[in-house]
């Protein structure tokens, strides 16, 4: 994944945090997704401005994991979120063009 890839949540989704985990409903597909605590940490930082690498840095700082491990985990997670249409990955230049 490009280090300058910015992450944005799918604006059509309804979600809520319960017991530290994020539960997401995709109204379009009538699907329910439940994120584990690590994925929930990432989800709450996906704001259309941060890159996956920036979120991985925060993950490494928050939890007792190496930067490399956090990067690998976040990249794998983001691929899954994108595949499930929960998150879209935008190139930084693309984001700037829309600002």
């Amino acid at each position: 994944m490009n280090p300058e890839t910015v992450l944005k949540t799918n604006p059509m989704l309804a979600w809520r945090e319960i017991d530290g985990s994020i539960v997401i409903i995709s109204p379009e597909h009538s699907m329910v997704h439940e994120l584990n605590p690590t994925a929930s940490f990432v989800w709450k930082r996906v704001d259309g401005r941060r890159t996956a690498d920036e979120i991985a840095e925060q993950l490494a700082a928050e939890f007792d994991v190496t930067r490399e491990s956090a990067l690998a985990d976040v990249h794998e997670l983001v691929e899954s979120l994108v595949a499930n249409q929960l998150v879209s990955a935008l190139e930084l230049a693309e984001v700037k063009a829309h600002v």
């Binding site: 309804a14 809520r16 439940e34």
Partner: protein, 264 residues
């Protein structure tokens, strides 16, 4: 049941409108029919839920000469029959039979309940000591069995429960929506004691689960038909509220009335 008339502007004559005011889960509806047979059939089916309040939400059932609904109406298509809900009126169109009418009323209620801190759940609700026990699960989980193993006159429904938070208190309401075990309709409500996810087992056992697991139990059993984001957000808020307020359990049971012993 009351009969009123209204002028039919299209053909310049007065056509009868048959009104059937109902109240289900404290939600007043005023079903309006042109067809006498359909009106009488619905009057019998919902007799326990008839109301004297004609100011409930007008619901036009296959009425001709309708006007466009205001705002951005909620619409749902059920095998060709449709529900439309505008700001101050609802319409059912192409309703083939009374079972379809039943389904359309459930769809309408599922939407109306969102603004009233409530929802419909695939669940049997049974009264014991003045409190409601809500047994949820999909078809075959044992809802009708639970109802059939409960004392006569205690079952609010064996299939579709209406749960609402009224004045900070979660309550289960009787509904006219039944499955295999149709007892006499009960148009009453009671505070909810607990929600039980049914699991058939060789021994009766009760296990309390976390609010998060409770939400996981409820979500697949909620009757919900809206694809609007704000409606789904409201539903999630309501479900989160109930699992944080009401204990949720896994009930392992043997299809025998003894399961009441582990609940008591």
């Amino acid at each position: 049941m009351q009969i009123a008339t209204k002028p039919d502007k299209r053909i310049g004559v007065v056509s009868p409108v048959l009104q059937l005011p109902l109240e289900i889960g404290k939600i007043p509806l005023n079903l309006k029919f042109a067809d006498m047979a359909r009106f009488e059939s619905a009057g019998k089916r919902y007799s326990t839920f008839l109301s004297s309040d004609k100011k409930g939400l007008p619901v036009l059932v296959d009425l001709q000469g309708r006007t466009s609904l205001d705002g951005d109406p909620f619409t749902y298509d059920l095998d060709g029959a449709t529900v439309q809900l505008g700001e101050d009126q609802a319409e059912f169109q192409r309703v083939p039979h009374e079972y379809s009418l039943d389904s359309l009323i459930r769809i309408l209620l599922s939407k109306l309940l969102l603004d009233r801190s409530g929802f419909l759940l695939h669940a049997a609700s049974v009264l014991a000591d003045g409190r409601a026990h809500v047994f949820t699960g999909r078809s075959g989980a044992g809802k009708s069995t639970v109802a059939s193993l409960s004392p006569a006159g205690s079952v609010l429904t064996d299939e579709i429960s209406l749960l609402r938070c009224v004045e900070t208190r979660w309550q289960a309401f009787g509904t006219p929506f039944w499955g295999e075990f149709r007892a006499g309709d009960m148009n009453c409500s009671a505070p909810i004691s607990g929600i039980y996810s049914l699991i058939q087992a060789k021994q009766d056992r009760l296990e309390r689960i976390s609010p998060r697991d409770g939400l996981r139990v409820l979500l697949p059993n909620v009757l919900f038909f809206s694809s609007r984001k704000q409606d789904n957000e409201q539903l999630l808020r309501i479900l989160t509220d109930i699992v944080e307020a009401i204990p949720v359990y896994q009930l392992y049971f043997r299809r025998h009335a003894d399961f009441w012993k582990v609940i008591a």
